[in-house]
Symmetry: C2
Subunit: 443 residues, 2 copies
């Protein structure tokens, strides 16, 4: 009988291992995509694209049985040769090729010049050829940064005793109601796609106290802007026994600090490739909604149109104000008007026209919405009634409060938006692997 | 201006901190649910349920301003008192209460006896009262184990240079075709819910080489069994530059070993609560599909009905065979017949009636399906044509192969099934927070 033990010593090395100075002067094997070929006559430089970067391989005439003439872009190959230090090569090392084999070959030339440093191609063309465009080293680096964000979110919350949960995306009724819900046929019943895990995470506060989820959410919104998607990844948490809704903002600030450290430590190469300066998260200012409106209206002479809402342009100005006045990359805007927040938002006992809620703006764009929730069964039902809403389909959610639950609150972060701002893009589709919007359902 | 710094020193301590021997004899504050009350006359024992366990609080008559007579099950409270060592208490410590406050109170008695050690309630009743049933310490512990599994999956793959990806759940066409697809209305177009991230993860092998995703998948199957769900969490990975499909099984074995170590280290308390003996993952036997059928047919005298398929009963017998003969908890069954695998499965060049694929059985239940995929554009299109399938909607998927991709393969693991087997349950709904099946769309 054959057995597997999970121990496989691979002969082939990857970039990290090739950068180990102790390997200089030894014979090595590596595999990767043919990224670019530069024929200099007697010498040909072939750059391989590996999962963590580029490695230069040098073919000297007559040395290798595999001739560089046989190579072309987008083949995958396995090459063997002597590892040498060379300052001019990326990462300071190169392989002097002695032998090699072609693993696979493409059937057509690439439709985009992915070997270039900057892929100067329209967003539309990139999205139409997604699995090719992302082979560009800079394009793919954005999604490595995205990994660092979500990984930081989970690791920080694990360390703060949150439990990870998985709640259903198909349900009988949407959590927050409204018309922006996708409907589907579920065995001859009508079901909906979850627009947020809101109800479920609150229900689980009574079980695990602190919970989080990182999962897709679905919004049937007809917005067609640079910052909206109809499906995105939401980083949600909810925590019990809060003393104030400030506890939630402190937890998010703690996450941002942890995330920045993780990116510096584990994603330094991608930060360098993209030329990213990480934001300042040492201290994040906090301003009331009405105060923020007043400040930007005064400083920038902008007339307030609607006292109950923040227009995107106002968010941009608030971002600018706090950048100029305090050097801040982020700002918490608190106490949103009750009429603009969902029924479960806790009203401020000192002024029930406002809520104990907040948005976090990053360079003027909302990347988080959060706040304290109503935990009292009677108060919750009164607010549902006052809004003329029906309790139908909310029975189990309401039972959670009927049977008791601690004071709690939480938030949701849009992963693609946070990535977009962090890498300095201005369209959220740039930081979404396969965006879904009004016109795009493929690939 | 007020600033947030992410540093909050909480006065209240949680169980872990209370178990620190250096705190014995100090005054402490903690908060939690009133889990059970035992009135002994002059002394009342109140057990609080916190996020990581139970803590015993002792009220002596006349000592605390808050009388234990005011307390009842499912209130949330904050208590203050002297931390003392006591062997008879859970975790060896208890709090002698000096003062306290009631944070929230329920409006009705709990519908289930969650304070009991074992919640002897039917699965239906537990699912009908999910947010209450899970307040039982044993019930919730299963989902802490589930967290350990998914966390181990991600951490192990990060360490092996996999990149985490997020692929859309709404698409224009299902990855593997067939009738088991949920359809939805997407802005007056027909869209479908992803039954797997298969196409996307293969497309991303050309970008990141090694990728994984942990996300929901949707199957409109009309099965109503103990092991099927219509929505579940799939742990998927895909890796390039494999030398053989054995590389994929080795990677999975490596994950299982890592997972077992993580559970032992970080989830010891939950393992103890549930009385779990972790499976043996040191070496996992590997047997061909046809050989496995022959072995169990011979040993258990079971007649083979269909040479091309494994019936669930046969899987159980294969599990039993390898347990009896080799003491194995897991077994890889390899070389499934080509006609039972999807079109993208790589046929065995030595016998194209079989594929370079595998299932992993855990105590006789399939928890993983995986294998090597076809990477050659022409071979892939020929197989599509030979099956009489259409290429419509697969253009971008096929382009990935047209423009070149390395040899690769991967797998998908059902999180709820793996959890079920690990905690010793026999219905996958027991290890799903909010299961979705033919009859259940709520809560």
């Amino acid at each position: 009988m054959e057995f597997l033990t999970g121990i496989t010593e691979k002969e082939t090395l990857q970039l990290e291992e090739l950068c180990d100075p102790r390997r200089i002067g030894t014979e090595v094997k590596t595999d990767g995509f043919v990224h670019s070929i530069r024929d200099m006559g007697e010498v040909t430089f072939v750059v391989l694209r590996e999962r963590s970067g580029l490695i230069q391989c040098v073919f000297e005439e007559g040395v290798s049985a595999l001739s560089p003439k046989e190579l072309r872009e987008s083949q995958t190959v396995r090459l063997c040769g002597m590892l040498q230090a060379d300052e001019r090569a990326p990462h300071g090392v190169e392989i002097r090729v002695k032998s090699g084999e072609i693993l696979t070959s493409p059937y057509a030339p690439l439709p985009l010049p992915v070997g270039k440093w900057k892929l100067n191609t329209s967003l539309e063309a990139k999205l139409d050829n997604r699995s090719i465009a992302l082979r560009n080293v800079r394009e793919r680096a954005k999604f490595r940064i995205q990994e660092g964000i979500i990984r930081g979110f989970r690791d920080f919350l694990y360390s703060r005793q949150f439990t990870e949960i998985h709640t259903p995306k198909i349900g009988a009724k949407g959590a927050e109601g409204g018309s922006n819900i996708f409907k589907l046929d579920y065995f001859h019943k009508t079901a909906v796609l979850a627009q947020s895990p809101q109800f479920y995470k609150q229900m689980m506060v009574g079980v695990f106290d602190r919970v989080f989820e990182t999962a897709p959410v679905f919004r049937a919104e007809k917005h067609n802007t640079k910052r909206h998607l109809n499906e995105y990844t939401s980083l949600d948490f909810e925590m019990g026994y809060i003393d104030s809704f400030t506890d939630i903002m402190e937890m998010e600030t703690g996450f941002l600090k942890y995330m920045v450290r993780l990116l510096e430590k584990e994603y330094a190469s991608e930060l360098r490739i993209l030329g990213i300066t990480l934001p300042d998260v040492r201290r994040i200012p906090m301003v009331r909604f009405d105060e923020a409106k007043r400040l930007v209206s005064e400083k920038y002479g902008r007339k307030m149109k609607n006292p109950y809402d923040l227009e995107p342009e106002e968010e941009v100005l608030i971002g600018r104000y706090f950048q100029e006045e305090y050097g801040a990359d982020f700002v918490f805007v608190t106490h949103y008007p009750s009429r603009k927040r969902p029924f479960y938002a806790m009203d401020d006992p000192e002024d029930p026209a406002y809520t104990l809620s907040f948005d976090l703006l990053f360079h003027g764009l909302e990347i988080t919405t959060g706040g304290q929730r109503i935990h009292d069964y009677r108060m919750l039902r009164e607010k549902i009634a006052a809004r003329g809403m029906s309790e139908e389909g909310m029975e189990q959610y309401l039972d959670t409060f009927r049977y008791g639950i601690p004071p709690h609150g939480g938030l949701g972060i849009g992963l693609e938006r946070l990535t977009m701002k962090l890498v300095g893009e201005d369209n959220v589709r740039e930081t979404t692997l396969f965006p879904r919007d009004l016109s795009r359902l493929e690939p």
